[in-house]
Amino acid sequence: MGMTMSQKIIAARAGLPAVEAGDLVEAGVDMALGNDITAPVAIREFRRTGAGAVFDRSRVALVPDHFAPNKDIKSAQQCKAMREFALEMGIEHYFEVGEAGIEHALLPERGLVLPGELVIGADSHTCTYGAVGAFSTGVGSTDLAAAMASGSVWLKVPAAIRFRLAGELGGWASGKDLILHIIGMIGVDGALYRSMEFCGPGVAGLSMDERFTIANMAIEAGAKNGIFPVDRATRSWAASVSGRRYAEYEADADAEYEATVDVDLAAVPPTVAFPHLPSNARPIGEAEGVALDQVVIGSCTNGRIEDLRVAASILRGRRVAKGLRCLVFPGTQKIYLQALREGLVEDIVGAGAVFSAPTCGPCLGGHMGILAEGERALSTTNRNFVGRMGHSGSEVYLASPAVAAASAIAGAICDPAKIADPAGGRAAARPRDGRGGER
């Protein structure tokens, strides 16, 4: 029997000729990631293993992003513990505030994750890197500790669900709408323990930034990982971020899938997930008019350059509605600079929105945009659980950067086609000055 793409990568890194769904294997890790919340726990556990050094100084990445720049004394202590450990162990990929950003935007940008690699991270959205054809999955702090000590991780080989994409997204629909639409179809445990493998002719029309957004939210369907095939766009992206060699894996023709879901991209509307689950997805037409107190654009889901371009294209020359707070967070310092060069920051700030340093910030109710009781936000992030962005009596709606920007102008959830060029859509994601931006 053939193997899925994820199974092939796991088999290769476990040193086995073949694996089957359900097998428990110990696999080598190409990169192990921790952040300022999960690494301090992992460091404590790492000490208990008795290992004097990490398995490979170039294969551990530590990123202060959740509560950094330090939001309070306790957070400062956590960041300090991580910084000191990185220094002590000589960890090459420790990123200080000023060079860092949100981990899942940062690692690919730095070329630290390439196709065919096996990555674990003590952060559930580590599944983001499936966008480039890597097997990557979120684990806990103890797993990270064990991986830092041993260079390996225990994995149960996942079964897979195949998502066959056809056609092209139309209008203002984007990768974010596609993944919200899919989670709405299959539910928050619709892919529990499984791989979501995306394939089909529709993949070619998705930009790398969109693939990152889609793979990022695989965990919101309960999946172990989400993964895209390696194609021309992936290869040219890989060449732009790293000179390292990498391996390409493809699913076998007779790979076994538990289910196949066909998606016609042209039929995916701009989609909004209502509180308090990402699966409460509704087409924009059924969401319009919900009044908002805050709009957040950013995060590891939608804080990339294309997201900022789309948001800026709608905000430019318009004003954020009176009484609404609009906060924009670029994913990394590099994205920040690119946004400056392209004039996006001016469009965003000029419209009356806040443009901040890269941080997870409000995404997890950390800092810089916490909601009060009864407040309602629309956010381009990935989770809308009870209390996610603040008070347990607040509400979060999830949507794309286009819907977010249009809603910030309208003061209520709004279809971007009603404010901006109805046909403009994804063209707004292209670079304004011809630089950067893989399509």
Binding site: T38, F67, T142, A146, L192, L364
Partner: protein
């Protein structure tokens, strides 16, 4: 953890919750600027059941529906539950990162859809983790649960993932 597995069955009172209990309500992010288990336990389940920390007793059980522990990878969630004195979480199914975190840190968990659906708050349950059995003493019923695969048992028998690796490193 090895003690709990090998020792007499766990017997405790059920605290019952629904589907998709996420780690944001198990331990809200506002408390993640520290990681001391006892401090976390004080806020365990706070955004779902503010009274939980006060009413939970040592040896009690959490019984829940599908996809328990979904959301973030924070190990603070099973740590908070374990430090609250909860002896085991019984659910219809677990989110995968929570599942592995629980095994890795030594919080007993059991997947048993029938028992999880049937149990009501306050029911007295008896769990035999080795044999994979759940008895509801209040209702007088018994259900089979999925026993753990040998590889996971070896982690649990070592006392958790760190102990497992410590033994292996020591042998090298």
């Amino acid at each position: 953890m090895s003690e709990t597995r090998k020792a007499a069955p766990i017997r405790g009172k059920a605290h019952k919750y629904g589907d998709n209990v996420d780690t944001d309500v198990i331990i809200p992010a506002r408390y993640l600027n520290e990681s001391e288990p006892a401090a976390l336990a004080a806020h365990c389940m706070e955004d779902l059941d503010p009274a939980f920390a006060r009413k939970v007793g040592k040896g009690d059980l959490i019984v829940a529906g599908r996809n328990f522990g979904c959301g973030s990878s924070r190990e603070h969630a099973p740590l908070a539950i374990k430090a609250s004195g909860v002896a085991c979480v019984v659910a219809e199914s677990f989110a995968r990162i929570f599942y592995r975190n629980a095994i890795n840190i030594g919080l007993a968990i059991l997947e048993c859809p029938e028992a999880a659906r049937e149990a009501q708050a306050g029911d007295e349950l008896e769990l035999d983790l080795a044999a994979g059995k759940v008895r509801n003493l209040t209702k007088g019923s018994e259900h089979g649960a999925k026993p753990f695969p040998p590889f996971m048992r070896s982690i649990m028998e070592a006392g958790g993932l760190i102990e497992y690796h410590r033994e292996r490193l020591a042998r090298k």
